[in-house]
Symmetry: C2
Subunit: 524 residues, 2 copies
Amino acid sequence: MLATMMDRPLLVSSLLWRAENVFPERVNVSCDGDVDVDFTYRELGVQARRLGGALQGLGVESGTRVASLAWNTLRHLAAYYAVPGIGAILHTVNHRMSPEHIAYTMQKAQDEVLLVDADLLPLVAPVMSEIPLLRHVVILGDGAVRDEGSGLPESVTVWWFDELVRDSEPLAEFPEFDETTAAAICFTSGTTGLPKGVVYSHRSIVLHAMAIIAAGGVAVDGSKAYLLGTQMSHVLSWGVPYAGPLQGARLILPGPHPSPDEYLRIVTEQAPDVFVGAPAVVALMRERYEADPEQYDLSSLTTLWLGGQVPPAGLVKWWAERGAVSVNGWGMTETSPMGTFSHTADSQGRPLPLFEIRIVDDEGQAVSWDGEASGELQVRSPWVTGTYLHDERSAESFDDGWLKSGDVATVDPGGQVQIRDRAKDLIKSGGEWISSVDLENALTLHPAVLDAAVIAVPHETWQERPVAWVQVSSEVGDEELRDYLAARVPKFWTPDAFVRVEAIPRTSVGKLDKVRMRREWRDA
Amino acid sequence: MLATMMDRPLLVSSLLWRAENVFPERVNVSCDGDVDVDFTYRELGVQARRLGGALQGLGVESGTRVASLAWNTLRHLAAYYAVPGIGAILHTVNHRMSPEHIAYTMQKAQDEVLLVDADLLPLVAPVMSEIPLLRHVVILGDGAVRDEGSGLPESVTVWWFDELVRDSEPLAEFPEFDETTAAAICFTSGTTGLPKGVVYSHRSIVLHAMAIIAAGGVAVDGSKAYLLGTQMSHVLSWGVPYAGPLQGARLILPGPHPSPDEYLRIVTEQAPDVFVGAPAVVALMRERYEADPEQYDLSSLTTLWLGGQVPPAGLVKWWAERGAVSVNGWGMTETSPMGTFSHTADSQGRPLPLFEIRIVDDEGQAVSWDGEASGELQVRSPWVTGTYLHDERSAESFDDGWLKSGDVATVDPGGQVQIRDRAKDLIKSGGEWISSVDLENALTLHPAVLDAAVIAVPHETWQERPVAWVQVSSEVGDEELRDYLAARVPKFWTPDAFVRVEAIPRTSVGKLDKVRMRREWRDA
């Protein structure tokens, strides 16, 4: 017997349907540098359907790869719907990558069209001739400054976004097709080796959106305003550009190269409930705020939705004292990215609905969820990648259908995940394990420590020993740091040395760059 | 380019995975008549996997139809997971149907196994020989009373649920298969003609669960306790037996033939946050409570989640004064059932995520969402049926891929649906439309009116005129009712007559039985 249910595909356009029809008057804002531009979801819908028609006019078809190298703006948001909406594939290029990696990922994705913010054009212009299929460059502006497009290879035609969209008839509706159709591409930003491509489907994007609107979890909700401090150029900005409109939430897009001061201005003027972003960003906002507390108003913020790294405990405390609770999740580019979610910052929380996890020990056995037994976190879900785009490294990344995260974790009997370390960041000293994450957390609790990172360095007697890198706000001696840690972690965890730095080295997506730290330590 | 995402099916067993693993210790309760039986989600999981193994032992395979004729209990809940879990199909037989309709639906579904509560056995025993494929009858009890199974046809083998489950090894895990596999069957309970079969898929059940856990809507949530006053024998009890465990919510199952007094006892002792059920049930609870207010404690209830009919305004007000807000949705057996949801009782609210609606006028044109233009509500979604099970009436029920609901509605610019009437219940008087729903709502606002229904009766001059049926708590004259209405609805809406009844006729699922009222009026 066959089920009698309608065969309705899960498409990105079905998310936009609800925004346009159910929440047409919800007012959002795109902070485009000089001016804050309000827009409703009705306007977003029109813009997306105009852009869809314009792209079809440029020859974009089902399966065509359209790259974006762009900030968090209304124009970029329109592309989030228009490109997958017409069956094409949006490759969000991470603007924090090197030009070499940008060229590599655009070759690998086979991009034919590039949507690019004028100020990011210099990142890609020098390598544009190395992207063989690229035919059209659409500058995300109104064409007021025509020479922005000069100096590009003759193989590409230059267009201005606003002109293209203005001259285009909006599509009456987006086409329907199979939900497993590719919708977007994002590349990982591994600290070693070349980036790896992950291709999201319409199905994975829609199911991820459904998971992050679920009550009791992230719960993206129409009653709230979200300041999108995580870049739309990476991991689809954690899915908020899809879940927000679906729910009629107010989106506040911070625009080009947002500085900590600009974020503080936007918080003050646009009064978001939730800041979405990396701990490193809210750490900088704290610094700037403290330099001039009279200038800004943080009172609207109730929630900091943090990810990408474990937020330092001292930072969490500072914001909590100002009314903003830090919530926290676990995820990767490979997991769209949300996999688990916690209402506190000291745990990665529970798996979202339809997201399955297991902890596997060194012998390949699943361990019990007792809060003690640790092993590699492995995950599977309709929004987890099952391979990498034409990449030989795929073979080593999966175990019997589960993605190997590379993170070491425990799970307690209530399903709460605790990341203990990256597998490769664990420190083995005298036969015992030392958690660099726990050491980093303990260090950042010290009032003078703004940021910290701990790496393992080789040691003759103990095999490995921890060394701490610290960014401090005021003078503090090694002895004081040692005493401070002694009250919080086992004695043998005390780092052998403290390296003072102006800023902790981080990767293009804000993760600790331990590869670089190890190299610098070795070279020094 | 193909997406790289894992091909993970949406299966009922993936809902149970989260309940068992993430919320193993959540304590639920099954009020089984004499005794309230606590159970955790870990125990539910074991029970479901034991039952799955036991059914396989009886020869149940992928696609086998397993009927249930049962109350809201732990045993029935285990079947909700075990039967679809092993790839078989659960046909929930509506115990409010006549024996003839029960036989008809079990023939149509081709049921081979029947899970039945002992006290419901007499409903099906007389017609059991008319169900040709039926081989096994499993009585939902411990076998203490052996003669419960006597007198059944020799063609069936009788088993006792608790013995079967106790003697069965739990399945290590449920198998995986395609998500479009049929999972459950429910028949509509139309007031005219034979019931029509709807076959839900694993996909539709999972997506419906994801929609009713979304923040801002129904938002079934792990922090709350739900008293399930809507029967598991119809429309999968609005999906709560799936969404609740998925979220770790506490389920309170009221057990066999719950009376209004039993509901009040359970509310008092088990302290649910939410009552889920029909307005008719909370109307009876109100009556019983008022007869003896000292005996019961309603203070835990914050929400009445009502459906099946528009809740009378007077009833909503009474409960609100006692701290319980009535929320409201729109749906049908054909829509799994939830389609829209409102935080108030005076509107059907907004479409859930992934649920699309349109309003179509008599000329077949979609009308605008201005709160004024009305027409038939048509819907489509992955959890809306696209046909009926081997039924010739399918042809007339759909319009270009949309389900024709038969309800007349308006939608306001904020996406709020307002059901104006059943298409066939609208009253056309002197060329103008009269809404029976609005008249019923206005009548139930009168303090003495407990329940009301309005039908159209033929009229020589005006074509049709309204006649009201009222159930009153104290003496009230026609003149007073007319005056009361005059202040609330247009003068020409005033019913030509008021019929006093002990109870308004309702169908097996609690909807107004206007067919019967029209017949009785004609006969009188």
